[in-house]
Structures are given as structure tokens and as C-alpha cells.
């Protein structure tokens, strides 16, 4: 709290970044959140911004109405406040600067967050995802692959998990030798096993080959991986980098495998760009889509020049290559990039998602992330900028992975048990630092931080409200028919994920959501049946025969807890619901109220002014048009 100089500022204006809408309210600064509460409105609109979500705060130059403060968040929220007094603005600004750059892990929200659970519940939460069970599910250990204890104490590789699966023929000296020849000691280990063909997906980092160095143990290691699979005489080595980058790395004593030195490998570059290119690409993308009054042509040109979709496609292409090699050719594949924790994680995780329907279930997806991302040491702390660190380490690698998954969802609407809303929640929490799962850069570090004792698990939280994340059209039988997904890679299948990058921009969204609607229908269907059964059972115990009576009904009382307020889930469903919410929110109803009585209102919060079709206001003299201005600010009632 010592960083907060001014906990409350009144008469702050909030500007919408895509239209001229302004809201006045009070700004509160707490130890964990920045809160804006709209004033003078019953059931006021509130915005809560977690400090950890804030990527940057900018003080713009003073205007007549006050001092503008521009806040950009990692969850793609952009808020523009105007604080009336310069001093208040400066206080908020400097407090935020300190608050959003925590210097130690102890300052993170996860260590103070308390969801009212007891110790036991906390423990159970952490046990929900069990990777040992996951490898068992994959049929491991088996006659060709064993669990190695070589990294039990993180001695061979400190960014790997303790439990690692290696070929049975890979002895300890081979492993240790290989690890010394690999960047950061990340030697080849198994990450997914395709039982049908006994083909393995392995991952590692780049070899320290320089221009000519070789390592017999490393060559043995790859030989062992190849031999563990009788289906194929060779193993694919996928270097996920562009060839040029790999070549450049040789000068630094790193590089890639020389096919002459390794028997039975097939080497392949797949050309995914590095973290710096990706960071710049997303930045460019956000710049483009954040432009006011963006034209369609500038949008498409910007989309192209940002390269974002090109990068997304490159990752999906790589995952498809991996999947085909494993499922069609039955070959094992070794995937690496430079350090083997960014592009490698993306490609391995996405490949597994294509190969194994289990990962397309809610629980399975959690397992996948736990395995490929958390346990294998994707540097969440650095990439998501959890602590005040090197800005050059920040990169949207995990965001890209989620984006790729979304692209697959768009192509296969029935293949995933969860909806895009789940992906967005994950993205939210990777940055929120509210739960322990994604803190730190490696398992070892997480253990040192004693996260399981001091924080809560996100997985438990998400599972407790899983009804919100279900995909209503998910079909388990689809998985039976299509165990392996074969996405099309035609460019038109890659789309801009509006619901992610504009999740807080209300004017961008469809006003009605198929997702929410079908979800509600489905829930009500099963709810109705339940009600019927309970009532019937009750009657039966009371000795009343009820055979012909029909019990189906739709009862408003019997509903699941309300969904989180989200623009993605769309605005209220029915008019009735809309009215109810308008009674609460007030603001919407006022804004859209016509200046006559009994007139039409606007559907589900969509409004003409927000969309800016025209220049109506400017084209009229104000004398003729007193209603226009006042309508916009929701004081229509006064003028009618």
C-alpha cells in the first residue's frame, strides 16, 4: 500500500477508443486493482483492472479537460482516462508505474489471493492434473521407453521437469553427454507417444555444433530414439526455425544437426520466426486494429503487413507436418528450436492436439498445457512479463498457441469440448498472476517458491465453473470419426481472432451469441429433465401415480449461476432478459431510449451512435437538433 499516494480520484472521464462515448466516474487505486466506477447511475458500470494486466501506462499531454492517462493491458484492454487535475493524474501514474512492475515474486497477486478455500481444497486443487497418470495413459513406460531419474534433482537440466521419458537404450552417460551438447542442457526427451504406431514425439534444444563440432553421445541419443520405433528406419528432426536463423547460430557455437554425422535422421527446417519477430508482429497488429475509423482496405493491408496470420499459419503448418510424420508415416520426430521452450512448445502442443482427441477435452487441454508448457519450462515469467524484467524477453508465444487452437476450433466446431471462452480465460490468467500455475520460468523455480502451499491452482478454479466453458456442439462421436484432425491450410482458413484481441471493445462484437444461446438451451434441456425426475420421484414417494402427467417445463428459478459478464458471450438473450439487465444497468436503456414513447428500442445494446455510420451531428445546426446530443449521453429522459 505504501506505493499508493492517491487512492481515489473523482470526476474522471473514461473515453471509448472507437467512438466519442464518454463516461464519468471515480477512479480507485487498490493494492491489486485499478477500479473505475461510473458515477450517478444506479447499478453503475464498473471496470476492474488487475495491476498485473497492465502492460503500459502513458501520460499524454495536458488537454483543456484534464490530463489524459492511457493504459494498455496484456489482455488487450485499452483504457483512456482523463483526470481533471494534473497532480492527481501524476500520482496515479507514478503509483501505477511502481505497482505494475513488481520486483519480487512475493508481490504477485497469487500470494495474497484467497478464494475462501481450506487447505485441503487447495491441495486437492493442485492434484487435479497428474502428469504421471498422463504418461500412463500414453502407455508409458513401455518396452522401448523408460522413466529416467537422471534429472531427479534438476542436476542435468534445471529447466526440465524431474520425471523424463527416454529410450531404454539411452544410458545415463549418453544422456549426460547429450545434454552437454545441447543448449541449456535440454537433451532429447519424449513428450508424446502415439501408441498406434509406437512413434514418439521428442523435444530438445539446438545442438552446440557450431561449424563442425560433434558429440557421439548426442548421436547415440538420436540413434536410440530411432531404434525405439520399429515402424520407421529414420527419425525426423524438425528445426522449427528459419534456416537463416539456424545458420547464424552456428557462429555462436550453436546450430543444427549435420545429417552426415547422424545416421538415420531426416532433417527439416520449418521456418517459424523468433520471439522478437512475434512480439513486433503482435504490436503491429494491435496498432492496426486499434486505429479509429479504420477502413476495410487499411485493415486488410495492416493484417497482411503485421504478418500475424502468416506466423499463425507457419505454426499450424509445422504441427501438421509433425502430425503427418507420426500418424501417417509412423516415424518418430524430434522437435527443437533454439532453446526448445517457445516454438518447440507451440509445435509439440499443437501437434499433440491434432493427434489425440483427449487433448481436445477440457481436462485433456489442461493436461496438455501442464505438460508441454508448464513442466517443460516455457518461460512464462519472462514471456508474460510477470516481474520487472527484460522487455526483450517478452513475447506472445503462448497467445499464439491459443490463437492456433482457435483457428482449429473454427475449422472443426464439433471437435473441442471447450469453447473459445475457455481459451480467453486461460489467456487472462496466464497474465493475471492470480493463480500459481503459470508463475516462474520452470518447475524447479516453482518448487522453490512453494507455490503449491502458498497459492491456488487455476485448474481447480476453471473446473469448478466448467459449465461456462463447454462447447455446446461438441460431439464425442466426432472424435471417434476423426481421431486425427487434418486441418486445411488454405490461407482463407486463418482469420483474425476478434473475440480475443477486441474482447473489451463492445462495439466490435456480435450482439447475439450462438455460443451462449445454444449453451443455455442445452442446459435448460437437461435441467428440465432433472426437474421432472425429481418431482416425479417426490410424488412417487408420496404414493401418487403420475404416469400421464407431463412434467416438462422451463423454470426461471432453476438456473445455473449467472455467467461472467463478457462481451464475447454476447448481450442478453431475450428481450425479457434484456429488460431485466437494463433495469440493472440503466445506462443501456437510457442510451437507446427513443425520444418518443412506445417506440422501438435497440436490440441487445447495439447502438447506432456507437457504430458511427454517419456525420449526422455535424451536418445539422444545433438549433434543429437538441435531442441528438443529449441522447448520446443518456439523458434522453430529460428532454422527452
Amino acid at each position: 500500500m505504501e506505493h499508493i499516494r492517491t487512492p481515489k480520484v473523482e470526476q474522471v472521464k473514461l473515453l471509448d477508443r472507437f467512438n466519442n462515448k464518454t463516461t464519468t466516474g471515480t477512479l480507485y487505486l487498490t493494492a491489486t486493482h485499478l477500479i473505475f466506477v461510473e458515477s450517478n447511475v444506479p447499478g453503475a458500470h464498473e471496470i476492474w483492472i488487475l495491476h498485473h494486466h497492465i502492460a503500459s501506462v502513458e501520460k499524454l499531454s495536458l488537454t483543456t479537460s484534464g490530463c489524459p492517462l492511457l493504459i494498455q493491458c496484456r489482455n488487450f484492454r485499452v483504457v483512456h482516462f482523463v483526470v481533471p487535475r494534473e497532480r492527481d493524474c501524476h500520482d496515479v501514474y507514478s503509483s501505477l508505474l511502481r505497482l505494475l512492475r513488481p520486483v519480487s515474486y512475493d508481490e504477485l497477486y497469487a500470494f495474497s489471493y484467497n478464494p475462501k478455500q481450506n487447505e485441503q481444497q487447495r491441495e486437492v486443487g493442485w492434484q487435479l492434473i497428474d502428469l504421471t497418470a498422463e504418461f500412463e495413459r500414453l502407455g508409458l513406460p513401455c518396452d522401448q521407453w523408460q522413466l529416467s531419474d537422471v534429472n531427479r534433482d534438476y542436476k542435468v537440466c534445471e529447466t526440465y521437469p524431474r520425471d523424463l521419458y527416454v529410450p531404454i537404450t539411452a544410458s545415463k552417460p549418453i544422456i549426460v553427454g547429450s545434454s552437454k551438447f545441447r543448449s541449456k542442457g535440454r537433451f532429447p526427451v519424449l513428450t508424446y507417444f502415439y501408441q498406434e504406431k509406437k512413434a514418439a514425439v521428442c523435444r530438445c534444444s539446438q545442438p552446440l555444433s557450431g561449424f563442425s563440432a560433434r558429440c557421439l553421445e548426442d548421436e547415440h541419443m538420436l540413434q536410440a530414439i530411432s531404434k525405439a520405433n520399429h515402424n520407421s528406419r529414420f527419425v525426423y528432426v524438425m528445426d522449427t526455425r528459419p534456416k537463416l536463423n539456424a545458420l547464424a547460430n552456428r557462429a555462436a557455437g550453436k546450430g543444427y544437426e549435420n545429417e552426415d554425422n547422424y545416421s538415420n535422421i531426416r532433417f527439416q527446417f520449418v521456418g517459424i520466426e523468433n520471439i522478437h519477430v512475434m512480439r513486433a508482429s503482435l504490436q503491429k497488429l494491435l496498432e492496426v486494429v486499434g486505429t479509429r475509423s479504420l477502413s476495410v482496405n487499411d485493415y486488410l493491408l495492416g493484417l497482411e503487413s503485421s504478418g500475424w496470420l502468416r506466423h499463425i499459419k507457419a505454426i499450424v503448418d509445422a504441427a501438421i507436418f509433425l502430425t503427418k510424420a507420426v500418424t501417417v508415416e509412423g516415424a518418430s520426430v524430434l522437435v527443437h528450436c533454439s532453446d526448445g521452450w517457445d516454438r518447440t512448445a507451440q509445435v509439440c502442443a499443437l501437434g499433440a492436439l491434432l493427434m489425440d482427441p483427449y487433448y481436445r477435452t477440457l481436462k485433456g487441454f489442461m493436461v496438455l498445457i501442464e505438460k508441454e508448457w508448464i513442466s517443460f519450462g516455457h518461460k512464462f515469467a519472462d514471456r508474460c512479463d510477470q516481474l520487472d524484467g527484460d522487455p526483450r524477453e517478452v513475447s506472445p508465444v503462448f497467445t499464439q498457441f491459443l490463437d492456433c487452437v482457435w483457428q482449429l476450433m473454427e475449422q472443426f466446431p464439433q471437435a473441442f469440448e471447450f469453447s473459445e471462452w475457455f481459451l480467453i480465460q486461460l489467456h487472462e490468467h496466464v497474465h493475471s498472476c492470480q493463480f500459481g500455475n503459470f508463475l516462474g520460468n520452470s518447475q524447479r523455480q516453482r518448487e522453490e517458491l512453494q507455490l503449491k502451499d502458498r497459492t491456488y491452482s487455476l485448474w481447480a478454479h476453471l473446473l469448478s465453473e466448467q459449465h461456462n466453458y463447454l462447447n455446446p456442439v461438441y460431439s464425442p462421436s466426432f472424435a471417434e470419426r476423426h481421431p486425427v484432425l487434418e486441418p486445411s491450410t488454405q490461407p482463407w482458413n486463418f482469420k483474425f481472432w476478434r473475440n480475443m484481441y477486441h474482447q473489451f471493445d463492445r462495439t466490435m462484437h456480435p450482439r447475439q451469441s450462438i455460443l451462449k444461446h445454444t449453451l443455455t438451451l442445452k442446459e435448460s434441456n437437461s435441467k428440465l429433465e432433472d426437474t421432472a425426475h425429481t418431482l416425479q420421484a417426490k410424488l412417487q414417494t408420496l404414493g401418487v401415480s403420475t404416469s400421464p402427467l407431463e412434467l416438462h417445463s422451463w423454470s426461471r428459478e432453476h438456473r445455473l449461476p449467472p455467467r461472467p459478464q463478457s462481451l464475447i458471450l454476447g448481450a442478453p438473450l431475450s428481450r425479457k432478459e434484456a429488460q431485466q439487465e437494463e433495469e440493472v444497468l440503466g445506462e443501456e436503456a437510457l442510451e437507446d431510449a427513443p425520444d418518443g414513447n412506445g417506440g422501438e428500442r435497440t436490440v441487445e445494446g447495439s447502438s447506432a451512435t456507437e457504430n458511427g455510420y454517419g456525420e449526422l451531428q455535424s451536418s445539422f445546426s444545433s438549433k434543429n437538433e437538441p435531442a441528438m446530443v443529449s441522447l448520446e449521453f443518456g439523458v434522453a429522459r430529460m428532454t422527452c
Binding site: V296, E304, Q414, W492, L542, S553, T609
Partner: protein
């Protein structure tokens, strides 16, 4: 088959033809050319595939010799619905004969030779009504119009305006003589008429063509009176001109022009430039070309998509319609929409504005009525505009995909408001197909006058009536539809617009998984309806309320006990 048709058919049947369809394995069978169709039957004992292709739907045909020394030929047929078929035909002569038959029969000039005049399905009778409603019915149903608006038959002989229907709705204060004079001041005689009445505030949308002010700023008292009568003394109205201010200025040189402020005191003109004619047609061609190119990377695709400008046109259409709707609903003023002829972009804007404002036009029947009123009866020249689609090599004459643009914009509305439209994408696709080539007479001709002269209504079946038959209707309904009487304001941010893959990539990427997902939604909705409705009850109108009482009864019973 009449003589004229058979003249064109030199080889009626060819065996051992191989048909290659997008997303299907090749098939072998017999190809047969009839007066109006191309029939392909797979040679198989059972469950064999049959293709019946309306020759009118052929947009372009390419032939090439294949095989040793040109012993066989290949015909590639590009359809107006963007599908591409390939036939491998043994025998060069057969191939050339078939190709020339297709060429001749797909481009018959005379309307009465077209298939709708021969389409006689057993379940339909020519005595059934043609069309869904008339201006008379529209007027009769809108009681609140009666004060200030009247039906005029000034055009009963199509002498005042060739492209208008016989009856139109105009202000009461204006008599037919004034109307006729006003008409002579408007291009093609298209004087301002009412097309939509907004119940909540009594404001209207009217449409017309441009006034013929010419270079020396001619004026027409009658036209001014007509517009003045459309609004009250104290009120004002908007003129949404679908041309840029510059275009409107330049139009004066060619005898056209715009309503000058000096003579139309109570009207404010806003210019919103919408592309038309050749520019739109070329945009469609570029887009279809981009969608048909299978070998491209992300950047090339995005740049081609941008270069086609199609989504920009969708954007302009929606935002101009939004502007019109905003004038009427939020601002409370009447609007007149026109561009040049008032037969293309004008109709696009007025019909989209109605979809935004009017819940009635979002129902299945209401939407078809809207199309009938604003496009068929209002004289959109379908015959010229839809003569060819994106593949044709023929020199462009008056082709323009304005109607397709309307369907696309409607699709965007449906994407943004998935519960608000009673019809689904499937209906839009069907209409897109039938506007270019159809078994029905609805989209034949360019005006009511032409339809009367050729007796279209007497000799063809009506597509709209057909689609509304119960068994057909089911295919086109949106399962999620929930009526709302509110306006639906579309978002026009570029991020909110999408390429209509259902249309443009219909044949390149088979969206089977999408169809299955749609099926699943249907199932959920149907389950919902069943649980909602007491079983064994014949009345389909039983509402929630009824089933509610059942449980309430049950509850009562429990309490009593």
C-alpha cells in the same frame, strides 16, 4: 422439345464421360444434353449419382483437346453459382458438339425460351398465386399510412415510369397530374415513392432516381411539392445520395443532378459514395479469382482479398444503410434515397435499412416480401445485372452484382445477430443461385412491365411461393430465431465484417464439419422444443406457459399432500 432447341443439339448423348466435381472422386457415366439441362448419370447399378445442371447456370465454358492426337476432349464448365465442373469426353467431335450446344443453349436471348417457361413440376399448379404481396396489400395493411399517404395508379399503363409497378404509394396531397410532371423530372421517370413506413414515429423511407436538373440547374415545382408533401411543414428530411458529391456534380453535365438546397429547403443532402456497375462486377471477379487460387500464401491471399475491394463494398452498403436507419429511428426524420437510376445501390440501401429497422422484414416471409417489393417490383434490372457472373469471358455489358451484395450484407447481419433473422444462410445461398439461373420466373425480366408483356406470371412458377411451402421452408429456417421488435444496428468496423465463405468458398472447401455443427444446433433446438411441449399434444402452438402450468399443477399436488 421445340425445333429451335433441337437445332442446337448435334450430339444428345455421350457415353463413357468422366465427370470431375470439386471435392468428389471422379465419376464415369453418360452425358446428355437437353434443351435446358445437362444431365449426367453415373453408370452403376444402384445408388448412382445423377447431376442435373440447368444450362442457364453455365457462366463460361472452356474446351481443350486431350488424349493422343486429340482423340478426346475436356470441357470445363464454370457455373454462375461459382461451381466448376469438368467433363472428359471421348471423341473429339462429340466434345465439340456438346460444347457448342452448351454455348448456344446457355445464352438464349429470348426470355420466353428460358426454362421457367417449361418448368412444370407435378406438385405445383400455374393457377396458384404468383408473388407474395402487392403495393395495394402493403397499403391496406398499414392503417397508419392512410392519413397522409395514398395509393396512386398513375402508372397503370407503365406510361409514367417504365420500371415502376402499376401502383405506388405517394403523399395524399399530390395528385396524379403533379406526379406525372415530377416523374418527367426524374431519370427514367422514377419519381419519389414510399418504400417503408416506420411505425414508431411515422417517418418514412422513400426512393427515386436522380433529378434531371442538368447543367443549367433546371427545377421542377411538382417534384419540389412532392418532396415537401412527404414531410410536414415544420419538419425536415434527409436525402441520402449514394454518389459522392463530386459524382453528383458531374452528373449535371449528362443531364442529371441533385436536389439543390435552394429549392428543397427542408431537405438536407448527405452524400455516401457506393460503387456500382462495372466496378462492382470487377470486384466480384477479382474476389472469385482469389478464392479459386489454391496455391497461395497468407500475404498473397490477404493482398488479393484487399485488392478485390469486395469487403469495402459490403462495408459501404451496411454503413450507408445504418445511416438511413439512424436518420429514421434515432433522429426521427424521413429519408429519400437515390443515386443515378435508382435501380441498384438505391435498392440496396433501402432494403438493408429496412432489415435493420423492421422486425417484419426479418421473418422468412417478410424477407421474401422485402425482396419482392424492393427488388422485383421496384424494377431492379435482373435480366441485365445477372446475365453473367464472375467467370464469364463475355464482354461486360450491364452486369453488376448489386443483389449479391445485398445477400452478403444480409449474411453479415445474420452473423452479427444470429437470433434475429428467421431464415438461414441456406436461403441466401439459394437466392444467390436463383437470381442468376432458376427454375422459377421470379427473377426473370427487369421490370413489372416486361413481366406483364411476356406473361411471366401466367406461365412460370413463383420462387417465393415455392420456398414458403412447408416442406421447402424447413430447409431454410434459422433454428435459433427469436423474434425481436428492436432495431439491429450492425457493427461496421472492418474487424466485424467477414468474407462470406459459405458463398465464395462453397465449392473450394467443403464445409462438411460446419454443416454437421449446424445439424447439432438444430438437434439442440428441437430437443428444447420437445421438452418444452407436452407430448402427444397435437397443437403446435402450445407455449411455455402451458408447460409451466403442468409443473405448477404438480407442485400444487405436492403442497396439498
Amino acid at each position: 422439345m421445340t425445333m429451335e432447341f433441337s437445332e442446337h443439339i448435334k450430339t444428345a448423348n455421350v457415353d463413357d464421360v468422366v465427370l470431375k466435381l470439386p471435392l468428389r472422386p471422379a465419376l464415369k457415366g453418360t452425358l446428355c444434353v437437353t434443351a435446358h439441362h445437362l444431365v449426367f448419370s453415373e453408370r452403376k447399378e444402384e445408388g448412382s449419382y445423377q447431376l442435373l445442371l440447368l444450362l442457364r447456370s453455365v457462366d463460361a465454358i472452356e474446351k481443350r483437346m486431350t488424349g493422343l492426337s486429340g482423340s478426346s476432349g475436356t470441357i470445363v464448365i464454370k457455373c454462375k453459382d461459382l461451381r466448376i465442373l469438368q467433363f472428359d469426353i471421348p471423341g473429339m467431335e462429340e466434345c465439340l458438339n456438346v460444347a457448342s450446344s452448351i454455348e448456344a443453349l446457355s445464352s438464349l436471348e429470348s426470355v420466353t425460351e428460358l426454362y421457367p417457361f417449361f418448368h412444370r413440376p407435378r406438385e405445383l399448379s400455374l393457377s396458384e398465386p404468383w408473388g407474395l404481396s402487392s403495393p395495394q396489400q402493403q397499403y391496406a395493411q398499414t392503417e397508419r399510412l392512410w392519413d397522409r399517404w395514398r395509393l396512386s395508379k398513375v402508372n397503370r399503363n407503365f406510361s409514367v415510369c417504365m420500371s415502376y409497378p402499376r401502383t405506388v404509394i405517394v403523399p395524399c396531397a399530390i395528385d396524379d397530374i403533379t406526379l406525372a410532371k415530377a416523374a418527367s423530372f426524374r431519370q427514367g421517370g422514377r419519381f419519389p415513392v414510399l418504400c417503408y413506413y416506420h411505425r414508431s414515429n411515422g417517418m418514412v423511407i422513400m426512393r427515386s432516381s436522380q433529378p434531371m436538373t442538368g447543367a443549367n440547374r433546371k427545377r421542377c415545382r411538382e417534384d419540389e411539392l412532392l418532396l415537401q408533401a412527404a414531410i410536414d411543414e415544420s419538419e425536415m428530411g434527409y436525402i441520402i445520395d449514394t454518389r459522392s458529391a463530386q459524382q453528383a456534380q458531374q452528373a449535371r453535365m449528362a443531364g442529371g443532378g441533385f436536389e439543390s438546397k435552394a429549392f428543397y429547403h427542408h431537405w438536407r443532402r448527405l452524400h455516401r459514395h457506393l460503387e456500382r456497375g462495372k466496378v462492382l462486377q470487377e470486384s466480384l471477379i477479382k474476389l472469385v479469382e482469389a478464392c479459386g487460387d489454391p496455391s497461395q500464401n497468407m500475404d498473397r491471399w490477404l493482398s488479393k482479398l484487399e485488392n478485390s475491394k469486395w469487403l469495402s463494398h459490403v462495408h459501404s452498403a451496411l454503413s450507408t444503410a445504418g445511416l438511413v436507419a439512424e436518420c429514421v429511428e434515432r433522429d426521427g426524420h424521413s429519408v429519400l434515397v437515390h443515386g443515378f437510376e435508382g435501380t441498384d445501390t438505391t435498392l440496396l440501401v433501402t432494403s438493408l435499412a429496412q432489415l435493420i429497422l423492421d422486425p417484419a422484414s426479418r421473418t422468412f416471409r417478410g424477407f421474401l416480401q422485402l425482396l419482392e417489393r424492393e427488388w422485383v417490383q421496384a424494377g431492379h434490372p435482373f435480366r441485365q445485372r445477372c446475365a453473367h457472373s464472375a467467370h464469364s469471358h463475355a464482354r461486360l455489358r450491364q452486369e453488376c452484382p448489386a443483389f449479391l451484395l445485398l445477400l452478403d450484407a444480409t449474411w453479415q447481419l445474420g452473423r452479427q445477430f444470429p437470433l434475429a433473422l428467421e431464415f438461414s444462410e441456406v436461403l441466401l445461398l439459394r437466392l444467390a443461385q436463383d437470381a442468376y439461373a432458376s427454375d422459377y420466373g421470379t427473377f426473370l425480366c427487369s421490370s413489372e412491365q416486361e413481366r406483364c408483356a411476356l406473361q411471366v406470371k401466367e406461365n412460370t412458377h413463383c420462387l417465393f411461393q415455392f420456398l414458403l411451402r412447408r416442406e421447402e421452408r424447413e430447409k431454410y429456417v434459422n433454428p435459433l430465431y427469436e423474434a425481436t421488435d428492436l432495431a439491429i444496428w450492425p457493427s461496421v468496423h472492418p474487424q466485424s465484417l467477414q468474407l462470406w465463405t459459405g458463398l465464395f468458398l462453397r465449392w473450394t472447401e467443403y464445409a462438411q464439419t460446419m454443416d454437421e455443427a449446424r445439424e447439432e444446433i438444430w438437434t439442440i433446438v428441437k430437443e428444447r422444443k420437445e421438452t418444452d411441449r407436452p407430448k402427444g399434444c397435437a397443437h403446435t402452438t402450445l407455449s411455455r406457459h402451458d408447460s409451466f402450468t403442468n409443473v405448477e399443477n404438480l407442485m400444487d399436488e405436492l403442497t396439498v399432500l
